[in-house]
Point group: C2
Chain length 204, copies 2
């Protein structure tokens, strides 16, 4: 075998080890909760060597952040839905779909989101990561608002970023209620209600 | 001295001891943060006997909850502003004043609110207390919305509690931003913007 093939094989093995560690971590975090989970449990479950494991991740916070990014990638896809409304009604429709998908995703990813919530509470690194994720959402919403204002669809006297933060906060807190299974209304009703207030308040 | 006077005196002394403990706790919590603060530091600072101290409070969580209730009393007074608007404009005015006072209070009580935030993150008792406080706010907002709907001022197709939660979430998250000194706009601008979106969205 020539040396480039050896390198390829090594690279493949490395990717698989990483995947095994991430899958094991997911299971251990969900079973034990973030605080009780240990890196040793994860390594054992993944059935990889200690030295090899530490090549990939420095600790459980680091693994969790990678898992968080994976889930958040799905959330970002919602935030990044094309947003070029030509009327108030069209804007309302897109925003309602975004809010609904955002909250539905929380429901679908409930177990991991519960782990994230615990981790955000106890790990400064994870908490900083969550803050970064939130800002990304808020910036995207701000852009959508500015676009609507430019197109003459939304009130221009409102500061896009201040509006965006307020709107994101409503969505975020409902998201955690859904993650904790504390919501009393359906996700559909929640999305419908908050979108109605927000879009009527913002659009002309 | 007759026995009732002795009892009065004892009662007075008890009230003063309690006050001394609360004041000392406030100082220790602000200096040390909730997690690092110990009941021993508080007792020493208050200069009261250990046995006496434990008659009043079972631990630092318990003291913090009393301090929290004191601050929240001030917040409740805002939520309990008389709310009998006869027009959309009047409703908007009252709500803007409420949002502004609510956020201003966070600014005025910043040090203690920072302690509360830490405590909410680590103490399940304190976290349960915060949840209770939030529900009280949300219920009060729901009532105000239902009142406006009954008077024909607000859209009746919206569920008051779902709207109230969404609105409270926006206020709450801005409150924590202000407490952490992370807000980039003025409290006035924040209150103005979020109220404009909310009241235009809800009122007819």
């Amino acid at each position: 075998m020539d040396s480039s093939k050896v390198a390829d094989k090594r690279h493949m093995r490395s990717i698989m080890t990483r995947q095994k560690l991430l899958q094991a971590a997911k299971e251990v975090f969900i079973e034990e909760g973030f605080q009780k989970a240990t890196i040793t449990q994860i390594i054992k479950k993944a059935n990889v060597g200690y030295g090899t494991a530490y090549v990939h991740f420095g600790g459980k916070d680091e693994i969790l952040i990678v898992l968080m990014e994976d889930v958040m990638e799905q959330f970002y896809q919602i935030a990044e839905m094309p947003f070029f409304p030509t009327s108030k009604e069209e804007a309302q429709q897109i925003i309602k779909k975004q809010a609904y998908s955002f909250l539905k995703m929380a429901e679908a990813e409930r177990s991991m989101m519960q782990v994230f919530e615990q981790a955000i509470g106890v790990s400064p690194v994870v908490s900083a990561k969550w803050k970064e994720i939130r800002e990304k959402f808020i910036q995207r919403i701000s852009q959508d608002i500015a676009y609507s204002q430019k197109k003459g669809l939304a009130k221009t006297q409102l500061n896009p970023e201040l509006v965006a933060r307020g709107w994101f906060f409503t969505n975020e807190m409902y998201l955690w209620e859904i993650v904790r299974n504390e919501h009393k209304a359906s996700v559909e009703d929640i999305a419908q209600t908050i979108t109605a207030v927000y879009t009527t308040g913002l659009y002309l």
